[in-house]
């Protein structure tokens, strides 16, 4: 794996890059770019995986003109243009899934497929999301996973000063993009029909942040959609069920 940077227009972001083959881009969630996790490793056995850290997150640049998710989506369309990417597989979790969907409803010409892992971006009335901004670190750890051993491990890992600072930066970036309206764009649902590429929607059956019922909105509105629910799994299937999730995504993208 190569840790690199990527400059598009005047914005430089941090990036993990590994593997050879067709390009697969992963867009991370609100907690920021994780390390080089086994999920990435598995995808990179067959694809060239690019995992950028969004503008405003971690050590990536934080341009003042990125003020909402639409700005980030447009930024990634610029990234695809500057890479001259052809037939990319775009994968995103939570906030990253939302960004991917906002990009796809605007322009699918450089995409081969879309894989959304518990994406934010839409709201189901009467089925409240979890309030990640009010949760204590303990509540977050408990609510993000089904398997308590993951929660415990998350809590045991006391962050270094640098890591704590990165976490705070990521919280700032996430709030700017997702605080209001909380984790959704009221307009997105009515434009989901514009996603013209095959789309896989994966959801943890026990997601306490974005409940599984949210998958129904994607099922109903995205034309070429496959919804797959992963049992005994929380909001981060690529972490909690890494092997299975990677296998499902590989099987899907291999076909497109």
């Amino acid at each position: 794996m190569q840790e690199a940077s990527l400059t598009t227009r005047d914005v430089t972001v941090r990036l993990f890059r590994a593997g050879r083959g067709r390009m697969l881009i992963f867009l991370h969630g609100a907690a920021g770019l994780p390390g080089w996790i086994p999920f990435f490793e598995q995808l990179s056995t067959k694809y060239e995986v690019l995992a950028p850290e969004h503008p405003g997150f971690g050590t990536s640049a934080n341009p003042p003109w990125i003020r909402n998710v639409a700005d980030v989506a447009m930024y990634y369309l610029d990234v695809l243009d500057s890479l001259n990417a052809q037939k990319v597989h775009l994968v995103g979790n939570s906030l990253g899934g939302w960004i991917a969907a906002e990009a796809a409803v605007r322009n699918c010409t450089r995409l081969a497929s879309l894989s959304l892992i518990a994406p934010a971006g839409v709201r189901v009335k009467g089925v409240p999301m979890g309030d990640n901004f009010i949760w204590s670190p303990q509540e977050s750890a408990q609510n993000l996973f089904y398997d308590r051993s993951f929660s415990e491990r998350m809590l045991e890992q006391a962050p270094s000063e640098k890591e704590a600072e990165i976490q705070l930066i990521n919280r700032f970036a996430a709030a700017r993009l997702g605080w209001e309206p909380r984790w959704f764009n009221p307009a997105l649902e009515r434009w989901l029909h514009r996603i013209e590429v095959p789309t896989l929607v994966l959801w943890g059956d026990n997601d306490k942040f974005l409940p599984r019922q949210y998958a129904e909105v994607w099922q109903k509105n995205v034309p070429q959609v496959t919804v797959d629910v992963i049992p005994q799994c929380g909001h981060l299937p690529h972490v909690e069920k890494a092997e299975l999730t990677a296998r499902k995504i590989l099987a899907f993208v291999d076909r497109h």
Partner: protein, 374 residues
Amino acid sequence: MPYRPLDMAERAKQRSAWVVLPNRLYDPKRGADEYESYIGQLVYAEELGFDVISVNEHHQTAYGMMPAPNLIASALIQRTKRVKIAILGRALPLVNNPVWIAEEFSMLDNLSRGRIIAGFVRGIGTEYHATGLNPAFSQERFQEAHDLIVAAWTRPGPFEFEGEHYNFRYVNLWPRPYQTPHPPIWIPSQGSSETIRWASHPARKYPFLITFSAQDLVVRYLEMYREEARKHGYEADGNQLGWAVPIYVADSDERARAEAARAIESLFNDYLNNPWEMLLPPGYMSLSSMQRTMKVRKSLGTQARRQTIDDLMTSGTAIIGSPKTVRERIKRVREATGFNRLVTMLQFGVLPDELTRRNMEMFAAEVMPHLRRG
């Protein structure tokens, strides 16, 4: 203006007395008594010779019963003659039309024939949970709303306002403010450096009131204001520096301590204590301010244990004692900072009406005259 009949056992089951505290714990009949008691105390302050009485705004909390402080200010105008009335303050970023705030202050200024002091705040962090407003844009909205309100007060209307968050084709205030050019503006704050820098700017020179802080922080933040003023090329006047602090005075130190203990401890532990997630939502302060605040803030925010009256007295977060003790405490901070505006919180936490009034009387008789002499 805390809701004193709060069931503290029920309160203890919640993470905060703000936003998530179930409102079944509010009894309207007792609440009506509370309003009567507090308005009576504020009116009594005029009789005792206070210069200013003040109200403030907080949302969805047992800590304060004034989500709309202008309503209380309006009632106070009708029951007082001379005293200034400070609204400390309205939370500007929380509204989508700041012209309403300009209009309401203007009305109050007319109704009181120029007795209004306009406090501008951003609200505390919990307000952003209560309203859903994005804390990332709090500072921007505050400054832009301020510009709009001052323009509405001073620029001949109608005019057009073109901002980032606020855009209005017509701004044309009826009524215009009674005072010229407009009511004085004060800035209460828990001391974010952005706010201090902004308030001290030569174009504004707004009095800055540091609230709910240990004495070393009070000194530090008031000194920060002076520093910023110097960077702008002027020396801050004592009237630009203020301290808002809970005070309790009784004949002796022992009596003051005994009478104030339960109330001051309830204020900091039951009413004000908030987890970081609620108190400092991301973006509410700049990254560097937030990191600094999380390190230095002991009186607010998550506490490992309950703060005792001794903790609060030792840190100087509250001033409790005989007239002599209280005078000396205030004098010490005054000597260190040269501040000229003291906002006395003479009712706090569950302090009952009778003790509050006695506290006010003692303060007015035994402390205030000494402060006036400087």
